[in-house]
Symmetry: C2
Subunit: 210 residues, 2 copies
Amino acid sequence: MRKDKVSSAVIRRLPRYYRHLNDLYLAGVERISSNALGRSMGLTASQIRQDLSCFGEFGQQGYGYNVENLRGEISDILGMKRGHTAVLLGAGNLGRALLENFHFERSGVTLTGAFDVAPPLVGQEFAGVSIHHVDQLEDYLSRHPAMIGVLTVPHSAANRLAGRLVACGVKGIWNFTNIELDISAPGVVVENVHFADSLLALSYMISEAP
Amino acid sequence: MRKDKVSSAVIRRLPRYYRHLNDLYLAGVERISSNALGRSMGLTASQIRQDLSCFGEFGQQGYGYNVENLRGEISDILGMKRGHTAVLLGAGNLGRALLENFHFERSGVTLTGAFDVAPPLVGQEFAGVSIHHVDQLEDYLSRHPAMIGVLTVPHSAANRLAGRLVACGVKGIWNFTNIELDISAPGVVVENVHFADSLLALSYMISEAP
DNA sequence: TAGATTGTTAATCGATTAACAATC
DNA sequence: TAGATTGTTAATCGATTAACAATC
């Protein structure tokens, strides 16, 4: 039975399901039971069946799940086939690391352009993506609408640029700055990648060890 | 009353508490009630008091919490004052972005050295940190023990290097590779920063919007 | 068919919220 | 002092696990 509102705990597990199913698929595995998948992921079979039941019925009694099929269903659920487009703001070290090393297309996202203010960067190209001046942002987005804005700018510029992205119709902000954006627009979501928070959580965990 | 085992939901909120309290401190705020802090963080006052009660009694009836003091307590809880040291493996784009732009010391962590296999990188220095050859890892760590290993290597090398770090006594691995490490050693924790999972969660959320 | 395994309902467990006596 | 606000206990809510009829 499909649920109206899927809990964030379930949403956070979906990419992991996708990753594991993709590994299984690449390893040539054809079918898998909730039990076996649970064992390999460290989850209960019950939880997997419960999670999947939020979105539909993908299995078959007595058989389990077809790996390729379930991978496809989850990639659908995650929106990987929607052709989402993205722009990146801030072509500093981290921005360029994403441009050159992160495979946006493996998540079904097409990065169409990047922006910065530094004269030596503007006009350059990284992994086939051109760097424009931030002044061109509105003009560019009016011609190439994007669903996602990737924020890899200094924190002092973050909120202002986030506002401009939202004004241009961006629906999701992938925020790498270590501040909390205040986005008031309805229907716009922020996904934070807070390095410092992550490192501090690790610091806590190793400090607790006996 | 101090809890034996603090739930991971609480642990994940601690760095956010620290960040907000630090902002308040820098803004010159002297005291704050659980109610006011909750309003600014989007949490209930109850939850904040409940969370803090896992670690001790830091407030005062009728007054609230002293910002500087509470910030200090949380920084203690997070292990920020323990002088944790770290090494970084993989000085590619992402590794160098961390070396040059991420302030480890703001989380109380000292990054002492970095490692790579690429000849042109070995011997160079970024933000005061020297790049050694990975062959020197064991030798280096025997002379400069580290609590944390930062993994910014290609995924094919991740598990092998994680094993070597653990063998050298590293207690926590900050994993930026998009695979799940299989660490068997007891008392070693892995903190994952899975970019792809994060982007897919964002993709899901914007795909759901009405 | 018989064994396996699903989707779903019920039971349990844990986390969040509410309430309130204690007290600064 | 009186008002404010804590720490904690109790109540509620939500998420995970267990159980099982349905069925491939």
